[in-house]
């Protein structure tokens, strides 16, 4: 006690502990959120076979570990066995990620990230065959004829011609609507050979694996 008095030692203020505690829980909450999004988008990538979700699988692994580490550092966490903590995090992630996927939010997150996060699509590329799925809303090919201010015809890479309605479509990236331009379209199939484009993008710029030569 003499040493405490001599060195004028005072208890560390409560707010410092509270701050640390809340920071830990906030970090845990954010980690779980990213983990859930990661599982949702990975699920979307694996189940719908649209994107290559390697990056998201890495995110899932990293944030699963981070969530476990942060939880282990909360007060009272020692009372839980490791397998229980890992199980709870895993099950929570799978349930919430599954809901995210089933509700269609995972694909929306993927598209939003593509629109707003530079280089996202290079890191999470879309599968080649996806762009030959007009019934799912994905089409690609070369422009062969301009038929109007908001319409043109493309030849897809299976040599089929498509009438494209580009009214109200959003042109992303360096794409020019002109003959011989290779493009990708996201939209809705409106007939046997007609498609309404909502999104027009250049064919290249998606990394090596998006090269036309690799396309099957």
């Amino acid at each position: 006690m003499g040493l405490i008095a001599k060195n004028q030692i005072k208890p560390i203020p409560k707010w410092e502990f509270e701050f640390t505690r809340w920071s830990l829980w906030l970090g845990l909450g954010l980690s779980l959120l990213v983990l859930i999004i990661g599982i949702g988008v990975s699920w979307f990538g694996l189940a719908d076979d649209i994107i290559v979700p390697y990056l998201w699988l890495l995110v899932v692994g990293a944030f699963f570990g981070l969530a476990y580490y942060l939880f282990k550092n909360t007060k009272g966490a020692y009372r839980f066995e490791i397998w229980k903590i890992l199980g709870i995090i895993g099950i929570l992630g799978l349930i919430m990620g599954g809901i995210l996927f089933k509700a269609g939010l995972a694909s929306r997150i993927d598209r939003n990230l593509e629109a707003n996060l530079p280089y996202y699509r290079q890191m999470v590329p879309m599968k080649m065959k996806v762009w030959s799925n007009p019934e799912s809303g994905y089409l690609s090919g070369k422009i062969i004829q301009i038929t109007g201010s908001n319409s043109f015809i493309i030849k897809d890479f299976n040599n089929k011609d498509w009438k494209i309605d580009s009214e109200n479509s959003l042109i992303r990236g360096r794409v020019t609507i002109k003959v011989d331009e290779d493009i990708k379209l996201i939209g809705v199939q409106t007939g046997a050979r007609s498609f309404r484009a909502e999104d027009i993008r250049p064919w290249n710029g998606m990394g090596q694996n998006m090269m036309k030569e690799n396309y099957q």
């Binding site: 405490i4 208890p11 203020p13």
Partner: protein
């Protein structure tokens, strides 16, 4: 004045009082100093001076962290946890190992040995000084510390769980394994 009032307060009340009036911490120090010294002596080979240093540092550490005391737990568990960490860190720093320091008249320990190890009391009495300490030395450190807390500090599973920061199921498993390992070593020693 405060010294005389110590007895009428529970630990958690003293913690609350110590935060605003440091002198009350003296009550907690007096209440636990001897117990903590004995606790460290139970599982280390340290000299008295070192033990006193560890206890003193632990009290300073506890005083600094009073506002972080989880009062849902027993204060004693929280304090034992701090002392345990301090002692383990000290031993690591000085490259010392754990031990279980017992005396031959410890009835609870003898009862524990007899309960599940199939070792007769006569054998225990006869061989106590010869074998028991040697066998305990050979137990894994995690078994030693859980034995000290259960048999010598007389802590229940919840308290041991809070002190060692392990789930209660793990504490029970460690105790059970300690018995098994003890019996194995004992049988091996007897054969040889």
């Amino acid at each position: 004045m405060i010294d005389r009032n110590c007895q009428k307060y529970e630990d958690n009340e003293l913690v609350a009082l110590s935060i605003t009036e440091g002198q009350y911490f003296l009550c907690l120090m007096k209440r636990y100093e001897e117990k903590l010294v004995n606790y460290i002596r139970r599982f280390t080979y340290l000299e008295n001076d070192d033990i006193e240093d560890i206890v003193q540092d632990s009290f300073i550490n506890a005083y600094l962290h009073l506002n972080d005391c989880d009062c849902r737990l027993k204060f004693s568990s929280w304090l034992y946890r701090i002392v345990h960490n301090q002692a383990v860190n000290f031993m690591k720093k000085h490259k010392q190992s754990m031990r279980v320091n017992i005396d031959g008249n410890d009835d609870e320990f003898v009862d524990w040995l007899r309960a599940d190890t199939d070792i007769e009391k006569e054998t225990i009495d006869k061989h106590f000084s010869e074998y028991i300490k040697t066998i305990l030395e050979k137990l894994k450190p995690e078994y030693k510390e859980v034995l000290v807390l259960k048999l010598f500090e007389e802590k229940d599973y919840q308290e041991i769980s809070d002190i060692l920061q392990k789930p209660m199921g793990t504490v029970a498993t460690l105790l059970s394994r300690a018995k098994i390992q003890f019996r194995k070593i004992y049988e091996k020693e007897n054969k040889s």
